[in-house]
């Protein structure tokens, strides 16, 4: 068990910058998620921690040891790969036993430990099969078992659920969460799926273009996004971002509609962020701003109304019993307590 710390870590390939001078402290026993779109540097960061990629600059510390020059095998980490990386020519038992064997664990110890790991991921009955004979979810479990059969200093998980179908992903997510709480080992988890990040993480680091945009608990990055990118990336449907200005303590859209009072000084250019959840939908003329419905969607658990707001379209969430049609008029009210203002130039949040 150990902390992991990255100090001014950089990875460049020629002119391309994968990770740009980033520092990050991961606490002992913490579950940290690296979240971001593809190409943001999250996987590169993890691969550098594993030793599969050499950093161009900076230091990687695991516990009290600088591991930059250590081979992957000497870093005492375990990793679950996106495509599982199972050994197709070995049985499940041998797959799980491999990390022990290659480290010279005594024979008598191997069998009970493999059995215990298999039990933890409910694989006991498949031990004598080859990976080919297993389903996607089962292969995923083998990869997990292979990681937990030892007690490494750090778990690394690279998009471990992304190859599963939607339903299985939800089940495995819960199992993963259960397991990680039980094992209490420092875990770094890479994903592009914000729901995985929200549900699994103690803390989330949101990355873009090789730079960590925000580091915080799931609550913080959802309720208190640091910039436009984080605001737009977290939440489904994505946060509505409306261009406009602040005049006389009110947000005014580019179309000139005075929308809602905000507590910020006047400025000509500003982006207002508001989540679909934080908009109230009511009948036309009932207090809010009247808008025309561009598309009405019923998801079963709620309704989504895409409405035309001047030149922009905005998505609001309505009651699941609401029934409207295209081109109907509705009234929208914004919740003044859950509004975010951003500087369109820098993308940074404007805090009052």
């Amino acid at each position: 068990m150990a902390e992991v710390s990255l100090k001014n870590l950089t990875k460049r390939w020629g002119d391309f910058i994968g990770v740009d001078n980033q520092s990050l402290e991961i606490h002992d026993r913490e579950f940290l998620v690296l979240l971001g779109p593809s190409g943001c540097g999250k996987t590169t960061t993890m691969r550098m921690i594993a030793g599969l990629e050499d950093p161009t600059d900076g230091e990687i510390w695991i516990g009290d040891r600088m591991v930059n020059d250590d081979l992957p095998k000497d870093r005492d980490v375990a990793m679950v790969f996106q495509n599982y990386g199972l050994y197709p020519h070995m049985t499940i038992f041998d797959n799980i036993a491999y990390p022990l064997r290659v480290r010279g664990t005594p024979k008598s110890e191997i069998e009970p430990r493999v059995k215990k790991a298999a039990e933890q991921v409910e694989l006991t009955e498949f031990l004598h099969r080859k990976p080919k004979a297993l389903s996607g979810g089962q292969r995923q479990r083998v990869a997990l078992a292979r990681a937990i059969v030892r007690t490494p200093k750090v778990f690394l998980m690279d998009e471990p659920l992304s190859n599963l179908d939607a339903k299985l992903r939800v089940t495995m997510r819960a199992e993963l969460k259960h397991l990680s709480r039980a094992l209490k080992i420092t875990t770094i988890y890479v994903t592009h799926d914000q729901i995985e990040a929200m549900t699994l993480a103690d803390r989330v680091a949101v990355m873009k273009n090789g730079i960590i945009q925000q580091l915080g608990t799931p609550d913080e990055i959802y309720n208190d996004p640091a910039n436009l990118f984080v605001a737009g990336f977290i939440g489904s449907p994505a946060m509505n971002l409306i261009n406009g200005s602040v005049q006389d303590g009110h947000f005014v859209t580019t179309g000139g509609t005075k929308l809602v009072p905000v507590s910020a000084p006047d400025r000509p250019d500003v982006v207002l962020g508001v989540r679909a959840d934080d908009m109230r939908v009511s009948e036309e003329g009932q207090g809010g701003i009247d808008v025309r419905i561009y598309a009405f969607e019923n998801t079963g658990e709620a309704t989504l109304l895409t409405v035309q707001w001047g030149k922009q379209r905005v998505i609001a969430k309505g009651d699941r019993h609401l029934r409207k049609d295209q081109d109907d008029m509705v009234s929208i009210t914004l919740d003044p307590d859950h509004l975010y203002l951003f500087d369109p130039e820098t993308g940074n949040r404007i805090k009052s």
């Binding site: 599969l52 081979l71 990386g85 050994y87 491999y98 990390p99 290659v102």
Partner: protein, 275 residues
């Protein structure tokens, strides 16, 4: 005519064309097969129906032809060529596949290009050198020059197979605690085994069928099967029944080997240019 009738006619024409193609493909092979089982008299009387005999296969192994010696030479030469080529090619292929080397593209292009150098260019200096060091008409000499034609195929073919092994698996093994050498021995070799076997068989066929090198470098002791065919030219003309029997001994094992690796045959010849 309805669309359905049109389809049926097209399909019938296609079937007929395919059957004609099969016929043309098989005739020269069958012609040799038939002659090999004909008696001396039957060959020269052009019989389509005859009493098959195995006597030709006995004759070719006897005096003065001793095809057995040539068979042994061919087998040893092809086998040892493969035995040298595959391990050397595998090492290089792994490195080319997994690492970035200085001058990598240049090396790969040169290796690719050597396959296309006409054999007749390569063999002239080798003849001179072998004459000086006494390697003419030896199996070792032939094995050495065979490496020239086999290596580029082997390297490119095995590289293709290793490229197909997911990186994930190797990286998993490294994180699990393997050194690079252990990764190669425990993970890559077992996973690439079918590919190595395929490349080995492919090289075996090339070495077995090789003609020009053997023609120039051997005359008595190290003569291989394809050169042995020339034995059956007598004063009175070609001894077709014996020639055919020898031909079957040359081609039958290669047919069997080629069918084993048929999935990869094309891949081997085009070396990744056609996907």
């Amino acid at each position: 005519m309805t669309g359905k009738q049109k389809k049926q006619i097209t399909s019938a024409i296609q079937t007929i064309l395919i059957l004609i193609a099969i016929f043309i493909m098989l005739v020269p092979i069958l012609w040799i097969f038939m002659a090999a089982f004909k008696s001396h008299v039957d060959v020269y009387q052009l019989k389509l129906f005859f009493t098959p005999t195995f006597e030709n296969f006995g004759l070719v192994f006897d005096a003065p032809y001793y095809l057995g010696d040539k068979l042994l030479n061919s087998t040893i030469i092809a086998f040892v060529t493969v035995l040298f080529a595959i391990p050397i090619a595998t090492m290089a292929a792994y490195s080319f596949s997994r690492f970035r080397l200085r001058g990598e593209t240049a090396m790969l292009v040169v290796i690719l290009a050597t396959q296309f150098v006409p054999a007749v260019v390569i063999i002239l200096p080798f003849f001179v050198m072998f004459r000086d060091v006494g390697l003419l008409d030896t199996r070792l000499g032939l094995i050495l020059v065979n490496l020239a034609i086999v290596m580029p195929f082997a390297i490119w073919m095995i590289k293709g197979f290793i490229d197909g092994i997911p990186m994930d698996t190797e990286e998993a093994a490294m994180v699990d605690g393997s050194s690079r050498i252990q990764v190669i021995l425990n993970i890559v070799l077992p996973m690439a085994a079918p590919g190595l076997l395929t490349a080995g068989i492919f090289c075996f066929i090339i070495a077995w069928n090789e003609f020009l090198f053997a023609l120039i470098l051997t005359n008595k002791d190290a003569v291989t099967l394809p050169i042995g065919l020339a034995l059956f030219k007598a004063e009175e003309g070609d001894l077709w029944n014996l020639l055919s029997a020898a031909g079957i001994i040359i081609m039958l094992p290669m047919f069997v080997l080629a069918l084993i690796i048929r999935k990869y045959f094309v891949q081997g010849m085009t070396m990744g240019a056609v996907r």
